[in-house]
Symmetry: C2
Subunit: 329 residues, 2 copies
């Protein structure tokens, strides 16, 4: 008994779940696994550089995703301000005839027409009510309302109050909840808030098909939600010039403890520190290298195939919705 | 068809709603209105000074609440670190035979035995998973998991991921969700997350029976959730020595714009600024004086009697739960 919502209708999904297009994590294999399980699998375009997200990479990963999943329910997510510097990557993505393109962290207006002309649907992720209104005006087909609980980049508003406010402002455009959702309880809560589904990141970072270093999933399983934080130090050390108000939520580690709150000092020590950081990232030393993950790590107890994660979340949500209906009495 | 949960069982409530014990807002009239409507009405003990929360005040407001509501489903909420400086206020509260005492923002362990011996139930509000575990160990009968969306004092974790994590850690102790809940969608989402009810603050600040300046409710109705922030400047100007990690969420106004981020300068200018602030607060000049309110202000469109707010929330939640049960198909 799949959950039937405006999101499943619009994208032809079996389940109202979207894979967050996590840079360095959501490659072709993970997107295919989510798509094969009936969700929407978004490949993470990241910063579009050679190692992750560039033209060759995107063509290769999209081909892997298509081959594995059959090519339905796939798409690409971009960091909008980064895509604006490398707009050709949108042509590359659209050439694969994706179901959807997701844009987050910047003004989507200048890309909307091209996306729609290519026959793809436009998903806009927003972090404020003001941005939700702008995304509707830009022609978004779906709005993702992302709360501060989310792993990776985001802003300050919390999921619980942001989602219903965006639902009211965006209607009749469907809204998807993101931030803090890692099990069937979160999915059921998202639907109760008026969302048509959930966008899930961190839970799928601990999937067998996730990209990145193999140690990362186990770190997420071991982590506690009290020990994540939004910070800019990981962007500073990697030379990623994120605009205000976006920060990245990471598991707190030695690197974050050492530098958070000392951003200016870190900026002055980049020559020494960045090589050290790059080596830690390459070797999977996550006491130093960051793992972008959200507050929902408390709810993640195992690394599983993405299809099992998805079917477990939806089955749990269905059970909760059935049980809740018996509360009024 | 009231919503039946472990919270309604434990406290003999008709609806799983607790009035947040807001300092300066939740006096006897508001607590009585919530209790009369079938929720739990918690009087806000605040800092226990003469103007609000002191011994005479508490006796007077509790008497008003009892007279208006019949005396059932009433209690008092204290700021734990402040109560530790004026512990006699707990004797005063317990002499009224409250249903419950709520403690928030500090270690509840030293008060637990006295509260239970007096026949009251102990509600502990927490902002982290670690604090939830400590509250269970201290003998809490109910845990309130408060997310950062909440108005007034709180910390950084978001409601969406904190609530289910606390539910798992505290079981079988019932958990109540707080932060960002202002309508039936939020209440239904709280139940979906595994909570046994919701603690509601800001929505009841815009109640006809709320204490404080009469202009405040209309300010909340007019406010937007993108324009609140957690800050310490309002505590600094009022001489309230809040410990880490607590900050107060307020509607952003001229005062907050001027001083947030310049806390040290403000501390050096207290002599000039604090008289000016006190006058603004007394005259209801909310461009300068703070209104403690949460991100859910987007969902508040009118000042209503508290009983109407409560019955509207619960009726909406019941309708949502019935509708959600038909989603799987």
């Amino acid at each position: 008994m799949p959950l039937h919502t405006p999101l499943t209708d619009l994208f032809g999904l079996q389940h109202p779940i979207i894979l967050a297009p996590m840079a360095g994590v959501s490659g072709g294999a993970l997107a295919a696994a989510v798509a094969s399980a009936g969700g929407l699998g978004l490949i993470g375009g990241g910063y579009g550089d050679e190692a992750w997200g560039g033209e060759d990479w995107l063509n290769r990963e999209y081909a892997i995703a298509t081959e594995t999943s059959g090519g339905e329910r796939l798409g690409v997510g971009f960091i909008t301000w980064s895509l604006a510097k490398k707009p050709k990557l949108l042509d590359v993505a659209l050439a694969h005839k994706p179901t959807a393109i997701m844009l987050s962290f910047g003004d989507p207006a200048s890309f909307s027409e091209q996306i729609h002309k290519a026959g793809a649907l436009l998903i806009c992720q927003v972090q404020t009510l003001a941005a939700a209104r702008a995304a509707v005006a830009a022609g978004a087909d779906v709005i993702v309302a992302q709360g501060t609980e989310a792993g990776g980049h985001g802003a300050s508003r919390g999921t619980m109050a942001l989602v219903p406010a965006v639902v009211d402002a965006a209607a009749p455009v469907p809204v998807v909840a993101a931030g803090g959702i890692a099990d069937g309880r979160g999915l059921a809560a998202a639907l109760a808030l008026g969302a048509a589904g959930a966008l899930v990141g961190t839970r799928f970072f601990a999937a067998a098909e996730a990209g990145g270093h193999p140690n990362a999933g186990e770190r997420i399983v071991a982590a506690g939600g009290d020990h994540t934080r939004r910070t800019s130090v990981v962007d500073i050390i990697r030379g990623k010039d994120w605009p205000q108000p976006y920060t990245g939520r990471v598991l707190v580690n030695d690197f974050v403890d050492r530098w958070h709150g000392k951003e200016a000092v870190l900026t002055g020590n980049l020559a020494d520190e960045s090589a050290r950081y790059a080596e830690a990232a390459a070797t999977g030393n996550f006491d130093e290298a960051a793992i972008h993950a959200g507050e929902a790590v408390d709810l993640i107890h195992d690394v599983l195939p993405a299809g099992k994660i998805l079917s477990g979340m939806t089955a749990e949500a269905e059970q909760i919705l059935r049980n809740l209906a018996s509360l009024p009495k």
